[in-house]
Symmetry: C2
Subunit: 339 residues, 2 copies
Amino acid sequence: MPEGKVTSLHVARRAGVSQSAVSRVFSGASASPQTVIKVRKAAEHLGYRPNPLARAMITGKSKMIGLVVAYLNNQFYPLALERLSNALQDQGYHVLVFMAPNDEDAVEKVVHDLMDYQVAGIITASVGMTNDLTQRCADAGIPVVMFNRGQDGGGISSVTSANVAGGARIAEFLIAGGHKRIAHIAGWEGSSTGRDRARGFCEGLAARGMEPVTVIDGHFDREIAAQATRDLMARSDATDAIFVGNDHMAFAVMDTLRGELGLSVPKDVSVVGYDDVPLAAWAAYDLTTLRQPLNRMVEATVDTLLGQITDAARPSQKIEIEGPLILRGSARIPEGWTQ
Amino acid sequence: MPEGKVTSLHVARRAGVSQSAVSRVFSGASASPQTVIKVRKAAEHLGYRPNPLARAMITGKSKMIGLVVAYLNNQFYPLALERLSNALQDQGYHVLVFMAPNDEDAVEKVVHDLMDYQVAGIITASVGMTNDLTQRCADAGIPVVMFNRGQDGGGISSVTSANVAGGARIAEFLIAGGHKRIAHIAGWEGSSTGRDRARGFCEGLAARGMEPVTVIDGHFDREIAAQATRDLMARSDATDAIFVGNDHMAFAVMDTLRGELGLSVPKDVSVVGYDDVPLAAWAAYDLTTLRQPLNRMVEATVDTLLGQITDAARPSQKIEIEGPLILRGSARIPEGWTQ
DNA sequence: CGGCTCCCTGCATACGTTTGCAAACATTCA
DNA sequence: TGAATGTTTGCAAACGTATGCAGGGAGCCG
């Protein structure tokens, strides 16, 4: 059995061929059947494994995908990470994870680090990028896909759920449920996701001649959402329904309503979230929410990214995936409501 | 401004020195102050950044740490990942994430992939490794630290909380609370963590002349824990307290007790978990649990790993960190109980 | 049988760094 | 002033792979 490192040269010697031949066998270039057999056999005997770093040096592209993510306390993102990583592993790629606070400089620094590693592509989740930065990635030949966030500007790919439609759907649902004073604790206004859901929701209400009691920015943060709930319920006009910009905040809203204010959900107030993270289905919350189809979003993200990696000319695309409203116990269900 | 790629050679030319000089400046080797200045200036002007892959080729060690993790649905692990990644980023390292089901072959495959990337070290979380495999890593000069899991065999480092002591502490607490029929839904028996907590718990009971009503393996799984709860409560001897092997399962136990069986926690049954993930503090669960000091565990993990990386001779160590019992509303608090 | 094409193959170079070696230089001390 | 010592520096050889190029062989057709 072999010592330390075994290289393509060792394999070549043992197989009685040149190093190039070994390289060609393992990089899928053409080689005669006999050569392939000889090389494979020698390689197996020696326990040879191609060195991906050396390969990356030559080709300029490593088999790594950079994943930039701001935080993992919202259950949605760990799951996305898990699925993304699995899907990419299946395709022979590996995930280099970077945490980056959601500010411009930090993201820029992180992306530079990623470019140093010659990643084949970048996925950002819950993180924004300036158009300037995405342009520089494009110049470097590194495709970028934004996951669960969009960008108005130029040619950057993104995969989101149909947030505007989702917001509108929830408006429709709450109105049908007979709610009269509906409030919205929105996602962070600095994110397309938060803005789109809010817009769809307000448009949905307006289409039926209503408007929200108020819209408060919850910044996707538990504490802020909890405080927003207190403020909201302290007002004189009794709010009877709250659409919360994501599940993570919705849990805080429910905790505040029930635990702190002694209100009943949905008897006193209906609560609807967005995401359908696993926790939403657990009995303690049983949250009615609009599902983001995680599996399909991950699939679309991987497809788009790998597509752009193998075919640099492929144009960027903005993919929106519709998700269903999941009816549970946190919001009154309109009579005769069919999914 | 520079085009495409700028290498150390470009910098060398502009600074009027040799390429080696540039390398020495950036790798921290000795160089005269004037050379350093000339090189730094030229580098900045050109926007030079050393290529970490080329460096890894030569040195045999990349600035990447492999992180192997089985699943991310237990909130504890995403948080650990987040903290680990941040701590390592601060030290100039980056995290290569691999998902691996907890079986021997899969882990072996994944570790080989990691070795191909010449990672400087490996952290496994919620994943076991055979002694044979850790030996091969050691042979390859790659230190391994197991996070939240131990290993009986030889020289492998691990960082866990003091699971035996924690289990015993919970036994003490539940007995002091006057519970008479105490059950344990244990963590996976295949994990040191699960075994140690169970052992400490049983020993703690025994020390006070009690023994558990029953011990069921919950496999760290929600569904299995829920079923265990049903089975448990269907028995004739009314269980009045359950110690659950981690919070993730404890939530399922509470959901089942309250939502499905209509029991009250803690009036009918006290529930105690293990981990103190953020969700445990949320009003909907308000779970009494033994805290694993995540920050200190992460710190110890990073210290140990980086220590072994910089000093290959450093012996492996098994670190146990004690955590406090966090009193909340899911278990009856003994009168006069002081932390 | 000659010429043509086509497929394999080996040679040599390139990728961007680190590092051993020896030459060059500066510094100290006798 | 000369030798001895220590510090910088450049040269060149690695690290392990991919790939353009040209030579060699096989096959086909006339």
